[in-house]
Subunit: 348 residues, 2 copies
DNA sequence: CTGAAAGCGCTTACAG
DNA sequence: CTGAAAGCGCTTACAG
């Protein structure tokens, strides 16, 4: 359009927005006082406070975050760092649920969320300087697989970070927030047994993730507790994808045709399992009861709707944010485990 | 842990990261020269350039973005603004595909993406000052419904913004990037007709969204072109959700039991339609051919896999980012329409 | 091609 | 409780 206009100027001819100096002038105080009001109004007379607030409203003043950051040495933002092959997480409904929760929780603290993906080695290299330079004050880290290099890198940067789910294979203390996977699995298996099922199989998550490991452990523990021998023929290892759920179920149906229930470690896989069962001409829950895990959006969309274990995503997000803020304020790492809840629908 | 430590300090005792002054000292030049190198090295001797680059590497210097922002009057970041009821978009696979694409495209320009949700009026009020204060340099706006107040608000702020999909009901020029919905719909209907189907129904998207409107228009146009009378009994209006696809299909099956094909305006709805068809005891594609739209991840996971129209999400993201950067550099608004592609699988 | 210097808009000891 | 002032780390005319 306007070819002659200069480029690379932010607001070429718009008048500058009001600064703290304008506010000070309007309120009849110094800019130090305005700043103090901005910081919470400690040690400021109520008369001054009111005058400043009035001026702020009148001028529509909003703090310049860059200027503030420069002096406070804080970025004033937090990263949501996805250190997984992108496909996996962007297709997993749990991920979006978590992202949404964190965005909301951070918004309440006026902290913008910066979304960073680091699924590949190249991406990790690219964001390293960004993190090292503390362009964010902390990191919400989503990375489930064992030995993720991001954990080490973050530790070296000295940036506060909180993981979603227990990071596997870390010797030192790392902050994380997780649902009680083991108890969740136990609750589901207990429910299946108490509804009269005898041969309960399981489809697990990947065995290099905490959810994969602990949900299997819960399954095994509950069987043992009830005096049932753990039978590896009743165990199929999936990768959380719908397709793997289908394949695993098909396998179980062949290797152990007498099963009457299956605990599936994710709803997405459970949906796949449903497909395999249906294809085999069996009915759910009449012939085989199916229990999922997550209570993700798919759980109520399957046929039949899934009986599943609800992960407390809202609370997980909140606690991740809370822990991160605490660490930014100097607290040490902490572990938070949140209870799950059995949601009974029609599949079991 | 360390109770006696002062709080609210960013890096209490870590040594400060190197500044441009350290680099200048190491390179034996002034800080103005370092800055010029950082800006691209124009008007700097190659000797100086090399010395500066060496110093940067040696010290691990990374620019302080806050300081830069303060002087350039640019935020150095871009917002991805979701102005829809959250549930909808966070469950729609298209959304995550778009978000992923934009994150990647922005990363290539070293621009952090700030994720902002503004699905409710309260949220919109909350982020208004953030936007007005130009805490981001531009906005990638995702908002499909007619008359979204965010468009007006953004226009008032003077912030550059680019919409994903045509914003309905806007009189003035607004930048947007969209797939060619109409042509995509035409291609699908053409394909169905040419595979020998005669009674082609459609399940549309919401009629206050461009995709809802234009895909229906494409359907209608192609029928007319082939001399087929447009029959409203063959049209059911959905809302892009899986559930609505199922309900619409059920309705069509009742009101027009002789249909032998259906063009569904989203893969998610098509998946729902598949369920309804199956429940009615009909086979796909033998009895009814089903064509979807999106080629989202669900398309290959349905039974049978969906023949659908691929939306060029990677290109859409790239173009949105490119347009936004152009606007930030002073260019005027522009409209970009990208072609779609027919993907033939098994459902039609 | 280069340096010295002003200035971006804040916060925070420091005096009073 | 309040003001004056230093300083956060950059960029960019301005001279030379």
């Amino acid at each position: 359009m306007t070819d002659t206009e200069p480029r690379r100027r932010a607001r070429p001819r718009g008048k500058r927005p009001p600064t703290i100096l304008d506010v000070a002038a309007h309120a009849g105080v110094s800019r130090g006082t305005v700043s103090r009001v901005l910081q919470g109004g400690h040690n400021v007379s109520s008369a001054s406070q009111e005058a400043v607030h009035a001026a702020i409203r009148k001028l529509g003043y909003v703090v310049n975050r860059a200027a503030r950051s420069l002096v406070t040495q804080r970025a004033g933002s937090v990263a949501f760092l996805l250190s997984e092959p992108q496909e996996r997480f962007f297709e997993d409904p749990n991920f979006t649920t978590l992202l949404r929760g964190c965005t909301t929780a951070l918004a309440e603290h006026d902290l913008p969320l910066i979304l960073i993906t680091a699924g590949t080695e190249a991406e990790r290299r690219r964001i390293a300087p960004f993190l090292s330079a503390h362009h964010v004050d902390g990191v919400l880290l989503v990375s489930s697989h064992r030995g993720n290099p991001m954990v080490d890198h973050l530790r070296r940067t000295g940036l506060p970070f909180v993981c979603c789910g227990k990071p596997l294979g870390e010797r030192d203390a790392v902050s994380y927030v997780a649902a009680n996977d083991r108890e969740g699995a136990r609750a589901m298996v207990r429910y299946l047994l108490e509804s009269g099922r005898n041969r309960v199989a399981t489809i697990t998550g990947p065995q290099d993730t905490p959810g994969g490991l602990e949900r299997l452990d819960g399954y095994r523990g509950m069987l043992t507790e009830r005096g049932i021998v753990y039978d590896t023929r009743l165990v199929a290892v999936g990768d959380y994808s719908r397709a793997s759920g289908e394949a695993c179920m098909q396998q179980l149906l062949t290797s152990a045709p007498d099963i009457d229930a299956v605990f599936v470690a994710s709803d997405l896989m459970a949906d796949g399992a449903l497909t395999a069962i249906e294809r085999a001409g069996l009915r759910v829950p009449d012939d085989i009861a199916v229990g999922g895990f997550d209570d993700s959006p798919v759980a109520s969309a399957t046929h039949p709707p899934l009986t599943t274990i609800r992960q407390p995503w809202a609370r997980i997000s909140e606690m991740m944010v809370r822990q991160l803020l605490a660490q930014i304020d100097g607290e040490g790492p902490a572990t938070v485990i949140l209870p799950t809840e059995l949601v009974v629908r029609e599949s079991a």
